[in-house]
């Protein structure tokens, strides 16, 4: 039970990143690889400041700001230098690896006996429930904030940007500015995930972000499948589905592990699982080409 509960907590922590990938991928149609770097960046900044005993809410805020800065870099390279978004993301992600190492000073920082976001709630006798409650409150708050933003006039303009650039330009929307703000938001959420996971696991590792974008992508793809299946339009429900997608993803991994699969091939399982989600609808089309 505890095993699955911790998978649930992890899926909540990663839910912030999934919301970030939802913004870049679903709303702006940009495959943003910066994610791998900004996730570790959030964790690195968190580690650096936490061990110096900064107040944790300021630590999380600065972590998110650093993530948004990374997103702004990618968006600038993409929009101003007109470089393909995928390449822009790879460039920033690669650069961030060194920057993260410089911030951390070494490849691994343990965060033992420090005051983290998970130290506040102490109501249940069993600590995993306290952690779970904290995760639900934090991710719930950010999900509601994102939901609100996307319902505002500004949010509608954001959603339209990735959907029809000719339409937005003719309606007075600066697409490039929108993309910069969008990637800043996306990577702030990704850095939040990195920060939360570091606080939950009690360590930051320089390699913790490698391949993490696939987890976010997988969650968004699961959400997409559910959205189409249930014919969901409302934006709030879409955000909820993304977090559900993150949960389903972690559950699949947890079950895989519990079946005794070697943890070393977990990344392979992850990639195959995402491939499965993407490929399933296509396999159906191959089998019935007339539909």
């Amino acid at each position: 039970m505890e095993f699955y509960l911790s998978a649930l907590v992890l899926s909540l922590c990663l839910g912030a990143m999934s919301m970030g990938v939802f913004i870049s991928m679903r709303i702006f149609n940009i495959p943003d690889i910066t994610t791998d770097g900004s996730y570790t960046l959030g964790a690195a900044v968190t580690a650096l400041l936490l061990v110096q005993h900064w107040p944790v809410y300021i630590v999380v805020l600065i972590s998110m700001l650093s993530g948004s800065l990374a997103g702004i870099c990618t968006a600038f390279i993409h929009t101003k230098l007109k470089i393909d978004a995928l390449l822009a993301g790879i460039l920033v992600m690669t650069g961030l690896y060194s920057i993260n190492l410089i911030i951390m000073g070494r490849s691994n920082i343990p965060l033992i006996n420090l005051h983290t976001l998970f130290s506040y709630i102490q109501i249940f006798p069993h600590s995993i429930y306290n952690t779970l409650a904290t995760g639900i409150i934090i991710i719930g708050a950010f999900a509601i904030l994102l939901w609100y933003i996307l319902l505002t006039d500004f949010g509608i303009a954001m959603r339209a940007t990735g959907n029809s650039s000719s339409m937005t330009r003719s309606l007075g929307i600066n697409n490039n500015k929108m993309k910069i703000i969008g990637l800043a938001m996306a990577n702030a959420l990704t850095a939040l995930s990195g920060s939360l996971v570091a606080q939950y696991q009690n360590f930051t590792d320089i390699n913790m972000g490698i391949g993490i974008v696939i987890v976010g992508l997988g969650s968004v793809l699961i959400a997409d499948a559910l959205r189409i299946w249930f014919n969901i339009v409302a934006i709030g429900a879409q955000i909820a589905l993304v977090i559900a997608g993150s949960f389903i993803f972690q559950m699949v991994l947890a079950v895989t592990l519990s079946l005794g699969v070697d943890p070393n091939i977990l990344k392979l399982v992850t990639a195959l699982f995402v491939l499965l989600i993407v490929a399933l609808p296509r396999v159906k089309n191959v089998l019935k080409p007339n539909e």
Binding site: D153, I156, N163, M167, S170, L171, G172
Partner: protein, 254 residues
């Protein structure tokens, strides 16, 4: 400069792919003045430069040479999203003017803010919904009861009609219609053009209507331009336009 001039092009030339084998002069030294309240029809063969002319007016294309003025302001280098304070536009492709994943209501919300900043406040209020319903009800297609439906679920004709109505959700001086009905069935085409004509009168718009349909060219507007290979080759005022027979127009394309 005439102070009633709404749109002015001064010796505008647009060359695509300059210096390459596929170089093409889409506009060749075009000078044109369109006054406030004019309803101009533009005809011309495929590829003659009509859409490029619209794009230079709207700012999606920056001229290789020449200047563009709108309402007296030199907008030659002003990007399209800043020119939208003057211009509302219906594209040739029915799918270019609306966002398919957004609801009808959200599309109209953005259109209502064409000349204004988009703030972090909820604008889809009950009062706004009522206003959108009233505007859409003009079409008599029942779309006013489907405000929460994604735009992408509608037909090309429905989307083009809504794009047209979106043009009047915020103050506009200029309406650009680029073969808005070319891809549509005759019934929707007629509704859209009649609606356009009513809106142009009701809101005192300066309008330009590109069309392939010579009957429409004869029926609508009070000035007729013909473009041929990037050049303005004919410019008829209201009286001259009235005298033109359909047969004459066919011969111009000879």
């Amino acid at each position: 400069m005439n102070n009633r001039a709404m749109i002015q092009l001064e010796q505008v030339t647009k060359i695509f792919n300059a210096g390459r084998v596929n170089e093409i002069t889409a506009l060749n030294n075009v000078s044109l003045q369109i006054n406030e309240g004019e309803f101009v029809i533009i005809i011309g063969a495929n590829g003659s430069g009509k859409t490029t002319l619209f794009n230079t007016i709207a700012g999606s294309v920056i001229p290789t040479k020449g200047k563009v003025f709108i309402a007296g302001e030199n907008v030659t280098f002003l990007p399209d999203f800043k020119r939208s304070k003057y211009i509302a536009r219906v594209f040739q492709n029915p799918f270019d003017g609306t966002a398919p994943d957004l609801t009808i209501l959200d599309n109209f919300r953005l259109a209502a803010l064409r000349t204004q900043p988009k703030h972090l406040t909820i604008g889809n209020t009950t009062a706004f919904k009522k206003r959108v319903r009233e505007v859409i009800a003009r079409l008599n297609w029942g779309l006013e009861n489907k405000l929460n439906q994604p735009m992408g679920t509608l037909s090309g004709g429905q989307r083009q009609a809504l794009t047209l109505l979106m043009c009047i959700m915020d103050n506009t001086k200029i309406l650009l219609l680029d073969e808005p009905t070319a891809a549509l069935d005759p019934k929707s085409a007629e509704i859209i053009l009649n609606t356009a004509q009513h809106l142009i009168q009701e809101y005192h718009l300066t309008a330009i209507f590109i069309t392939h349909n010579l009957k429409d060219a004869q029926q609508y507007g009070n000035r007729l331009l013909q473009i041929h290979e990037g050049k303005l080759v004919r410019d008829l005022d209201a009286t001259a336009k009235q005298k033109v027979l359909l047969q004459n127009m066919y011969e111009w394309f000879g």
